[in-house]
């Protein structure tokens, strides 16, 4: 049985090894410089920067496919400016520094005209400097905490006021159960923290006392919600109608809801409204015990509109033909997918309008850009704040994992990335500052 140790290499071999270092440097770094496809002049390259491995793959992989689908669609219609779109897919592997590196690669090596990507705030913040330095475009498709507004980013997901606040308003309404006390529950990172900060301020403005609000945070990937649920039960039993506002991060939702169901906490007693739980997240849960719990989004798969029926069908077909794992037998659409879809199309239209892929021209063209969204509304890109006007839907979980829309805004709502409920934002305009 040989030992686990390695002998020290005799000194005589040493010289060659040192020179081996130089070789390795060249070799290792030479590799990534190899460009994949020869720079075809008749295509416009489009970067796709979504994690296909690591912890975020669970949510982001499907967005990659959505982008590819949208691109196929556009190419089928003859592409843009007479050129076909050529997607360049990379895997930042849920590793934040790698996001920045890959962004740089897409922009400077592959010379892509635009990048669709990112999910977590930290990944967005990691790539932001790259996009601003190289003055390129990022389309970010996920609901987020606001507190940011870059001229190089278009935010097609919801700002807090397009999701969180209407949801809480609904909970306080008669139909929502007239909740008086709130449990703000989230994973311990910036999106829940910010959202809850905004909500607390909002609740104060509605006359809810601090005594009637508790905030609870769990680590990433927290899988044991027994104590938390017990706490919620206790809190809810000690006073008037209680509701839970959940900003739990994707992966922890399944254990949370399973526990919720098994502890017998019914939506009619303590409704839970979630901002990060959509069709995709519920895929992993048995929803029968969860009927009536809520989610707030700008899109639901169950929305009845011709545009949506078409969108869902397109996705279903695409998933089947391309054999998208998981979706080919049970295709699902959700809000970030819709946001991605809108983003790609809007960008294409803007390019066509600007007759160029030049960043500044496209930004100019994006202002006021409209698109008939699957959501059933015409969503409009705000003239200046780089966010979409979006309708807000409140859905109740159904036994089949879909959502019943029980409430919706009369029309699209303008985004307010610098929420007025955060004192520091006083006097901040919802306009990207011109970076000098």
């Amino acid at each position: 049985m040989s030992t686990s140790r390695t002998p020290s290499i005799p000194r005589r071999l040493f010289a060659r090894q040192v020179s081996a270092m130089a070789l390795a440097v060249v070799a290792a770094t030479g590799l990534p410089l190899v460009s994949l496809s020869a720079q075809a002049a008749d295509t416009i390259k489009v970067g796709v920067l979504h994690s296909l491995s690591g912890t975020m793959a669970i949510s982001e992989t499907v967005l990659k496919d959505t982008v590819l689908m949208a691109i196929d669609e556009i190419n089928a219609k003859g592409g843009v400016l007479g050129k076909k779109l050529e997607p360049v897919v990379v895997d930042p592997a849920s590793n934040w520094p790698l996001f920045a590196e890959k962004a740089k690669q897409l922009i400077t090596q592959d010379k892509v005209a635009v990048v669709f990507g990112c999910w977590t705030s930290v990944s967005r913040k990691s790539v932001l400097p790259v996009f601003e330095e190289t003055n390129s475009l990022l389309f970010y498709p996920v609901q987020y905490e606001g507190e940011e507004l870059s001229k190089n980013v278009f935010y097609t997901g919801a700002a807090p006021n397009q999701q969180a606040i209407p949801a809480v308003e609904y909970l306080m309404s008669k139909d929502g159960g007239g909740a008086k006390r709130f449990v703000l529950l989230g994973t311990d990172y910036v999106y829940p923290r910010t959202t809850n900060k905004i909500l607390r301020a909002f609740l104060h403005s509605k006359g809810v006392a601090d005594a009637d609000i508790i905030e609870e945070y769990t680590p990433f990937g927290h899988a044991d919600y027994q104590s938390i649920i017990a706490k919620i039960k206790k809190f809810s039993a000690e006073g008037k109608k209680t509701a839970v506002v959940s900003t739990i991060n994707g992966d922890s939702n399944v254990p949370f809801y399973k526990e919720l169901g098994n502890q017998g906490l019914k939506a009619t007693d303590v409704p839970v409204v979630a901002f990060s739980v959509g069709e995709e997240e519920l895929r992993g849960v048995d929803t029968k015990p969860l009927v009536g719990h809520l989610a707030a989004w700008n899109y639901f798969m169950s929305i009845k509109s011709p545009a949506n029926t078409e969108f869902v069908k397109k996705w279903g077909d695409y998933a089947k033909t391309k054999g998208v794992a998981g979706h080919k037998d049970k295709p699902l659409t959700n809000d970030p997918m819709e946001a991605t879809y809108i983003g790609v199309h809007m960008w294409a239209d803007a390019v066509a309008k600007a007759k160029s892929t030049d960043t500044d021209k496209v930004i100019a063209a994006m202002a006021g850009e409209t698109f008939k969204a699957p959501g059933g509304f015409v969503s409009t890109m705000d003239k200046e704040n780089h966010h979409l006007w979006k309708p807000v839907f409140i859905g109740e979980v159904k036994a089949d994992g879909q959502f019943n829309v029980v409430w919706k805004t009369p029309g699209p709502v303008q985004a307010d990335p610098w929420s007025d409920f955060i004192p520091e934002n006083k006097g901040k305009k919802n306009v990207p500052e011109k970076k000098s």
């Binding site: 010289a15 090894q17 440097v25 520094p97 790698l98 990691s126 311990d188």
Partner: protein, 392 residues
């Protein structure tokens, strides 16, 4: 004993040696720091880092074949930081036989020390136009917390980048080694340590920007950070540090100290009963390698532009071990080669086969452990030996 593990018997074993041991032993007892060729290699590396790359990146026209893109420079710079970690890993694991699964922590601490300084350098250019970093404004903090006291001064933070990892390692190591924690037990508690630290840094209240960590740096020492020249400066600096550390490590392992370390690896009890105090030796090398990682972290942050707790995740630390192993433990060159090879492969695979790159990487690790017990460098040595056998 497998053939490939057997280093050849040196030529100095001849009749003369037996008749006149003294001179032969003289020879054997005074290992040179590097062979002349070795020095050549070092100089070559130095030249590449300090002259060739800057020229290729800054001077050579973009379309020429000699041009090296900013992206490539950034990538190599990043990997050189990793190489430093691998080197540190090799000293403690390859030579002393102590596998740490917590070196990511020291790396991150160094990074955070630098990050804090860079955050302060943003000054009033943040979102909230405040002297405080944005995330503090956001937490409604009115003043800097105590642990940010010195963050304004570059010198102080750099000192911290050395001291914090160093002291942590010193204290942790002292207790761990004193209570004779060995082998996997040690590995696991180092893992526990870094995991705990990660959770701690995730908390916003800890005062390090929570999950987002530090990003969007503007300038370093007053000069803008996102310029080609600044980047090149950092690059050359990193390269210099790497080569410097390499020579230092070389000096260590060729000294008696280095041999004691290997002795500890091979038979710690014998070392003890020979009168050496393993605690002192382990502690020394352990602390040193932690400091090296701290330095690597400090160089890493300004180049990649972000530091966040995920650098402390157990996986990150395991990868460091993997770089060392792939390159070849107890060879010094090995870890550097390994770091470049693995990370180069990673960057390449994630680009050409984004859906399948994990298969390649996984297969690589398995292949290396199965077929190259001494890593790539070991393979090189083996091939040479084969050639010689054929020749003879």
């Amino acid at each position: 004993m497998k053939r490939d593990r057997m280093p050849e018997v040196p030529a100095l074993l001849d009749v003369k040696a037996v008749l006149d041991p003294a001179t032969a032993l003289q020879e054997a007892s005074r290992p040179r720091l590097l062979t002349p060729a070795g020095w050549g290699g070092v100089l070559l590396a130095l030249a590449i880092v300090a002259i060739a790359v800057p020229l290729a990146n800054l001077v050579a026209p973009v379309d020429s074949v000699f041009h090296l893109s900013d992206y490539a420079v950034g990538l190599i710079g990043k990997i050189m930081c990793y190489a430093i970690c691998a080197l540190a890993m090799d000293l403690i694991w390859g030579y002393t036989g102590i596998l740490s699964l917590g070196h990511g922590l020291f790396f991150a601490l160094g990074g955070y020390a630098m990050g804090m300084y860079l955050m302060r350098q943003i000054g009033r250019d943040g979102n909230y136009a405040s002297e405080l970093p944005d995330f503090m404004v956001f937490l409604d903090w009115k003043a800097l917390p105590w642990h940010w006291a010195g963050s304004g001064s570059f010198a102080f933070q750099m000192l911290m980048a050395l001291l914090v990892p160093g002291l942590l390692a010193l204290v942790f190591g002292f207790f761990a080694f004193r209570s004779r924690i060995k082998g996997v037990y040690f590995s696991i508690i180092t893992q526990a340590l870094t995991f705990a630290a990660m959770l701690l840094f995730f908390r916003n209240e800890t005062g390090f920007g929570g999950n987002n960590g530090f990003t969007d740096f503007k300038r370093i020492l007053g000069t803008p950070i996102a310029t080609a020249s600044t980047r090149m400066l950092l690059f050359v600096l990193t390269g210099g540090v790497l080569i410097g550390f390499f020579l230092m490590a070389r000096a260590i392992v060729t000294s008696k100290f280095g041999r004691v370390l290997q002795a500890i690896r091979d038979a710690e009890s014998r070392v003890m009963f020979t009168g050496y105090d393993p605690l002192a030796y382990k502690l020394a090398i352990w602390t040193l390698s932690a400091v090296m990682c701290g330095v690597a972290g400090a160089l890493y942050v300004p180049q990649v532009g972000i530091i966040n707790p995920s650098e402390m995740s157990p996986a990150a630390s395991i990868e460091m071990a993997i770089w060392a192993a792939v390159g070849g433990r107890a060879t010094l060159i090995g870890p550097i080669v390994g770091a470049f090879f693995v990370n180069g492969a990673k960057s390449w695979f994630t680009q050409v086969v984004p859906e399948f790159w994990l298969y390649f990487l996984g297969a690589l690790f398995i292949a290396v452990t199965l077929f190259l017990p001494n890593g790539l460098v070991g393979l090189a040595a083996q091939l040479r030996r084969k050639k010689k056998d054929v020749a003879e």
